[in-house]
């Protein structure tokens, strides 16, 4: 498999839809990254930080009580929540910060929804001694106060974004505006498999360690491949990280779980692949929630990290060619998933991750016989405890 093509296209998706000011930089980044990708020194430095700093490899944990609860599923959890900073996001920020250093950029910017990517970026920037500014929607700042404080502790400046829906989409608009303005010294660490080429590819590559490890661990334990992979999808980086290494294992079914918010029929959701139409936002062509006039709709999800009207272009491609299936669960179901994992396994998952857990209930009812599943436990839920206190 060799996607994207050299122009950054995954079939009809992807590409580079950005203001001209950024084009030279993106070409530069493409060239630098292409060299680094096959550079042994870079690879070993990246692996060093993943291992010694972030805590890789993460465990592939057989969730026995949860499996017993569902009866028809044998569930393994890929424990990305155990990584430093509490989510898979650190895999990507460590990779990108090393690229930024190679490009001699002195200033890091990032957008964040739940704050997990913001924290992971602030962490990587602190580790490398780089200046760091994070853009975060004003609404998200409120519902993720703990992560805001963490970013500040780590030395980052957090800029509240008050335009539009005051969430992730608007934070990304503002980060791009900063990037266009400060392109000479600034590296934009995009947090998902989204944005203009080469970002979707680069972020996928950095996150693909999840699936590489999980595949090896599963085969060692079970002497076969899993029947299903399940992961939540906002922009889609943890899902792509898990799925990518299984692309050619055609019998392994991949399921991305989107946020149905208040329900698909309510119109208040973030189920981009389930309900969206093809369009262009934030640098690439992909599925989008949009109006009949091509204006971007405001997404909704209880999970700030899924609250985004777009999705990474490679997921659109996976859907189009039928390699992965995309489903959705509501806010309420996600809270149910969170409670279930707490009680069955003593693990508090992030609200984003809880969507993947919640889907297991539907999957358990659907399958015939007993099936094995790897769930990407993308993040831990400490950050959400305060905001869901009143809902439980």
């Amino acid at each position: 498999m060799s996607f994207p093509d050299k122009h950054g296209h995954f079939g009809e998706f992807g590409g580079k839809y950005v203001p001209e000011t950024l084009m030279a930089l993106l070409e530069d980044l493409e060239n630098v990254y292409a060299k680094l990708k096959s550079d042994k020194k870079f690879k070993s430095e990246f692996e060093f930080y993943l291992r010694e700093y972030a805590g890789r490899p993460t465990n592939l944990y057989l969730a026995k009580r949860l499996s017993t609860y569902f009866k028809t599923l044998k569930i393994y959890l890929k424990r990305e929540d155990l990584l430093h900073t509490g989510a898979h996001k650190i895999n990507n920020t460590l990779g990108q910060v090393l690229v930024a250093k190679q490009m001699k950029k002195t200033r890091i910017i990032a957008e964040t929804g739940a704050g997990q990517h913001g924290v992971a970026t602030a962490t990587a920037a602190a580790l490398m001694g780089l200046e760091c500014e994070i853009y975060m929607g004003a609404e998200d700042i409120e519902r993720q106060a703990l992560n805001v404080f963490r970013m500040k502790l780590l030395g980052a400046k957090v800029n509240p974004v008050t335009s539009g829906s005051k969430t992730l989409k608007d934070a990304m608009n503002e980060a791009i505006r900063d990037w266009v303005t400060n392109v000479s010294n600034t590296f934009y660490i995009i947090g998902s498999v989204a944005g203009p080429h080469p970002y979707p590819m680069m972020v996928r590559d950095f996150q693909s360690v999840i699936g590489r490890e999980a595949r090896k661990q599963f085969v060692t334990k079970e002497k076969k491949l899993p029947d299903y992979l399940v992961a939540c999808v906002g922009g889609g980086s943890n899902a792509m990280g898990l799925f990518y290494s299984f692309f050619n294992d055609k019998r392994v079914k991949m399921i991305g779980v989107e946020a149905a918010g208040h329900g698909l029929s309510s119109g208040q959701h973030s189920a981009t692949l389930t309900e969206g139409a093809i369009g262009v936002l934030h640098g690439s062509k992909s599925n989008l929630l949009q109006t009949k006039d091509g204006q971007i709709k405001i997404a909704h999800s209880i999970a700030a990290g899924l609250d985004y009207p777009g999705v990474g272009p490679e997921h659109s491609y996976f859907k189009k060619v039928g390699r992965a299936q995309y489903v959705s669960v509501t806010d309420q179901e996600a809270i149910g998933g969170l409670k279930l994992l707490c009680k069955q396994e003593g693990i508090i998952p992030a609200l984003e991750t809880s969507h993947a857990i919640a889907y297991l209930e539907k999957l358990a009812r659907k399958v015939k016989g007993q099936k094995s599943v790897i769930v990407c436990l993308s993040g831990r839920g400490d950050k959400d405890v305060a905001s869901i206190k009143n809902l439980i």
Partner: protein
């Protein structure tokens, strides 16, 4: 011949003054009156901004104008109707400046046909570099709709060659790395970049982004084939919100810039 090409031919050595306004801010009726009044105020080409929910190349002034316009219910279809109406009274060249998603969603071929039929002369899409515009260029060429692409201070020589080829009508030089909006100082890098671009093309090169004062217009006009002012005019419209003399006041402001 396209009205834009014709305009530059008429102007000869004179510099084009290009005015940007957001269509539908404060409402479409006022937009119509402004376009008609601009013709007498020294404006050579009008850029009509189509409001978009996520204008990531725009600074606060045009962001706010887009938001106001969307709240008024402005759509691409309504702006097409507006241009058609303007065409019964004026032949001033009109470009649509808009983000790519509404074009893509409308359908490129259908968009070009409808734009041309209404009397639109060109289209400027800040988030669509020529690499991703191949099909749009093909449809636009077939109907003689101009496709204006950008050169930025960061644009490399090899890209400049490609961009001037893809462009028709004129080439938009972005004076500063950044978003739209008035600036105190315009860096002088435009001089070198325009000289470089001129080696590869005879097409007019106009400079925009950040330009807000008559002195800036005059200084940049020495070097470029035209000057584009946007945010400063949009601010002036907002300042005159609710004022019965809005059109007159804004026209005077524009006249002062263009002379």
């Amino acid at each position: 011949m396209n009205r834009i090409d014709q305009k530059f031919q008429e102007l000869k050595k004179k510099k084009a003054f290009i005015a940007f306004i957001t269509a539908g801010d404060p409402n479409l009726q006022t937009t119509e009156e402004l376009v008609l009044a601009f013709e007498g105020a020294g404006v050579d080409i009008v850029e009509l901004g189509i409001p978009f929910s996520d204008p990531l190349a725009d600074g606060p002034t045009i962001q706010a104008a887009s938001q106001r316009s969307l709240q008024k219910g402005t759509t691409l279809e309504k702006v097409f109707d507006l241009v058609q109406k303007i065409r019964t009274r004026s032949q001033i060249p009109i470009c649509l400046m808009m983000y790519y998603n509404p074009i893509f969603h409308y359908g490129e071929e259908r968009f070009v046909a409808r734009a041309k039929a209404c009397g639109v002369d060109g289209v400027i899409v800040p988030d669509l570099p020529p690499e991703e515009a191949k099909s749009l260029i093909r449809y636009a060429r077939a109907k003689d709709l101009a496709t204006v692409f950008f050169i930025a201070p960061t644009t490399t020589q090899s890209r400049i060659k490609h961009i001037v080829q893809a462009s028709s009508g004129f080439i938009y030089y972005v004076s500063i790395a950044g978003v739209t909006g008035a600036r105190q100082n315009i860096p002088s890098s435009y001089v070198k970049q325009i000289q470089l671009a001129k080696r590869y093309t005879k097409k007019p090169i106009c400079v925009g982004f950040g330009i807000s004062t008559p002195a800036q217009v005059k200084a940049i006009g020495k070097m470029a084939d035209g000057v584009i002012v946007g945010s400063a005019i949009v601010s002036e419209i907002f300042k005159n919100k609710g004022n019965k003399n809005l059109v007159g006041n804004v026209s005077r402001f524009v006249k002062n810039l263009s002379k």
